[in-house]
């Protein structure tokens, strides 16, 4: 899978959320389904204008949380406020404040792109005199202006997603929720969608709350909350989370691995391991260390690989497991069958 590279945005975060002024405020939120606890007492706050990521494996409780924040599920216990409104008591106000892009497509594919947007304006009471202008604007933003009169069933997955993003923004929401917005899309489309999200946040000052189980995508967030087994196990910027892991991973292949290993132990007090003819060790700053090592090492180096810790390493370090990136198709099917059994997911 291709890596998506975008300017990191973590540097913007300075002030902590000031209590009631947060765009999203969650306190001890719990949701159970029978004996199963999908979300177990999580608390956090999302600042205005922040891109906030919810990361975790399937079934960790991400979608359940997003559904509660969108008023589609009632919390079993605890409370949450979105745009200052309580999700249990002020549902209508919360709904007016948010735009939602669901994990599964939620367009009517038998009608045209334009009709989908127009109907959205009607149920969100966008003033009639600005509707056509906004529809044109949003279609322009997601590059679908020339397809406005086409039925949605003729659209590709990426086009549908872009149309949904346009639709979710028509009523100028304060908070945009995205539940696994890029599952099943090709890397190019995913990157394209991320560009849209960043552009939006800059232009509209919108707060973005998203869930994902793609590690590389989570890097695009200002802050990330990591969910596992219904609990929130970490909350920080991607950089800080990765800094907590330890050093970079260096893989070295030399003409005489045993000599190199002895050298590393003697001079740097490292504990290199040899796996499949490759030396592997961790150092704080691989980029600075390796050039120095290359000058000093008594044996010829054949290849070097320095890997920065990824969010996967963060998750691995915290849970001892990796987040598997399963195929979207399989996920959707599993989710559907779970849903049919009155389940979670």
């Amino acid at each position: 899978m291709a890596t998506i590279t975008l300017p990191a945005l973590a540097a913007t975060i300075t002030a902590p959320p000031s209590g009631s002024d947060a765009a999203i405020e969650v306190n001890g939120l719990v949701r159970t389904f029978g004996n199963f606890t999908a979300v177990d007492g999580i608390s956090f706050a999302v600042r205005h204008g922040e891109v906030f990521g919810f990361l975790g494996p399937n079934g960790a409780g991400k979608s359940t949380t997003i559904k509660m924040l969108c008023t589609l599920l009632r919390p079993t216990a605890g409370s949450a406020r979105v745009n200052g409104y309580d999700v249990a008591r002020e549902q209508s106000r919360v709904r007016q404040s948010i735009g939602v892009i669901f994990q599964d497509y939620s367009l009517d594919d038998r009608i045209t792109a334009e009709e989908n947007l127009r109907f959205h304006c009607m149920i969100y009471h966008v003033p009639a005199d600005v509707r056509e202008e906004r529809i044109a604007q949003m279609l322009e933003m997601v590059n679908l202006s020339d397809r406005r009169k086409d039925k949605v069933r003729q659209f590709s997955g990426g086009m549908k997603r872009r149309l949904e993003i346009a639709r979710g923004l028509l009523h100028h929401p304060a908070v945009l929720f995205l539940d696994e917005p890029t599952v099943g899309l090709d890397p190019q489309t995913r990157q394209n969608i991320w560009e849209h999200i960043h552009a939006l946040r800059v232009r509209e000052g919108i707060t973005v709350f998203m869930t994902t189980h793609y590690m590389d995508e989570a890097e695009n967030c200002d802050r990330i909350a990591i969910m596992d087994h219904a609990h929130m196990i970490a909350l920080d910027t991607p950089a800080a989370l990765k800094a907590g892991v330890g050093g970079d991973v260096v893989r070295l292949k030399t003409a005489h691995n045993d000599d190199a290993r002895a050298f590393l132990i003697a001079h740097y007090a490292l504990e290199p391991t040899i796996e499949d003819g490759v030396l592997r060790f961790e150092v704080a700053d691989g980029g600075a260390f390796v050039p120095q090592l290359l000058r000093e090492l008594p044996t010829a180096v054949q290849s070097v690989d320095i890997a920065r810790p990824t969010l996967n390493d963060v998750f691995l370090g915290m849970t001892g497991r990796v987040i598997r990136e399963e195929g979207a198709e399989g996920n959707a099917r599993l989710r559907d069958s779970l849903r049919r059994r009155g389940g979670r997911a």
Binding site: T12, H48, R93, F102, D104, I111, A174
Partner: protein, 271 residues
């Protein structure tokens, strides 16, 4: 590392709450109707299906039964069964509209509606109204068969029939929504469709008179809202009544109100 300054806005201000709209959101109701009508207009199969069904039941089943069924009043069997066909078109179309909720749930569009700031009562009413309108269109189209069965309604009668069909359509779609609100698979609804549509139809005196029928069947007929719909249409079109206008209208109105409230309740309870 790129730094993008984020506007530090406070909470986004919302327009004042509109109390009436919290219950009856006309624009949302209009949206739901428009959407279903656009789809109905573009996909004619439903309309053709309704016409084909009528031809089959009216002219083939009707031709077979006309000799053996004695009908009340001074009318032919085809005249007797014609209003019944209209009721049948309404019940099929109404339940079909209700089924579309299951499709919308399966294909996701229902979420778009449920997460919107629209009251559940407006969602149910919009859906029921669109179902009633589409059903009434399908019922009204059947007037093209009227001359072939010897029924010659005047424009005023046609108008009255349209009003009656809308009322029945609201009730039957509302009932369908009540069922669909709890249903997540098509198969389940298909079964219920067969267990509801056909029994309702057969115990409504639409196809044959129930005057000579056993007592238990007459009791069932009296409990069946469709009986009063058939009675009303038959009375209007060929002037043969079992009950009267007042009783028929009262039962149908009460039925519609009850199922619409029930459907709203079930939709709210879902969360």
């Amino acid at each position: 590392m790129a730094t993008i300054s984020t506007p530090t806005t406070g909470h986004r201000a919302l327009p004042a709450t509109n109390r009436l709209r919290e219950i009856l959101d006309w624009e949302a109701i209009r949206m739901l109707c428009q959407r279903d009508l656009i789809r109905f207009g573009r996909e004619r199969t439903q309309l053709y299906g309704s016409l084909a069904r009528t031809v089959l039941w009216l002219f083939i089943l009707g031709a077979g039964l006309r000799g053996s069924v004695r009908v009340p009043g001074n009318i032919s069997y085809l005249e007797f069964v014609f209003p019944g066909m209209m009721a049948m078109a309404i019940i099929f179309a109404s339940l079909q509209s209700a089924i579309s909720i299951i499709f919308d749930r399966e294909f996701g569009f229902l979420k778009e509606i449920l997460v919107a700031p629209v009251s559940r009562s407006s969602v149910v009413l919009g859906k029921a109204l669109s179902g009633a309108i589409i059903a009434t269109v399908q019922g009204t189209v059947l007037f093209i068969f009227a001359p072939f069965v010897g029924v010659y309604p005047n424009p005023l009668t046609i108008l009255a029939c349209i009003g009656v069909m809308l009322l029945i359509g609201l009730g039957l779609t509302g009932m369908g929504i009540m069922i669909a609100a709890r249903m997540t698979s098509f198969e389940g609804f298909g079964t219920i469709n067969n267990f509801i549509v056909l029994p309702l139809y057969f115990t409504s005196a639409a196809q044959f008179p129930l005057t000579g029928a056993p007592h238990w069947l007459q009791v069932l007929a009296r409990a069946n809202p469709l009986t009063y719909a058939v009675d009303l249409l038959r009375g209007l079109l060929v002037n043969v009544w079992t009950y009267n206008v007042a009783i028929d209208l009262t039962v149908l109105t009460v039925f519609a109100v009850i199922v619409l409230c029930g459907a709203t309740w079930m939709f709210t309870r879902q969360e």
